[in-house]
Symmetry: C2
Subunit: 88 residues, 2 copies
Amino acid sequence: MSRFTVEVLVTPRPGLLDPQGKAIHHALSSLGYDAVDDVRVGKAIYLEVSAATSQAAAERVEEMCRKLLANPVTEDFRVTAAATGAGS
Amino acid sequence: MSRFTVEVLVTPRPGLLDPQGKAIHHALSSLGYDAVDDVRVGKAIYLEVSAATSQAAAERVEEMCRKLLANPVTEDFRVTAAATGAGS
């Protein structure tokens, strides 16, 4: 078994309201950053996972996303696995 | 000026307490996912920025990170810019 760092990016679906993004957009405008047209805020989740291959680790985490990490009605997610070194 | 989508990943610094990550780790264990050794949760922020080059867009957003988007004491950030097509 090796150990993998799996990155999960959970983002609000296009078209859905994103109040946190709106708030940041507004704050950036107040600070004078006019070149920003839109802001969307999601979650970046990093999991240390033991698995035989990075493929297996990613598949396992995709299952976790569907069950817990993301809301499939309002959010999209993207999973990327990278090795972090030999494990147990 | 072109339009760029700039991705900002804000993560809690290593060693600092991450209660949200702990809660997710605990929930995953309850669901039977024992292969997960650690979970860290940060923010994924996507900004639509008008700029001359992707380099300029990324530099501008790094400035926003230092001023507003990230807390330099407790968080690290990573900025990546990608073109999204011709703008105004």
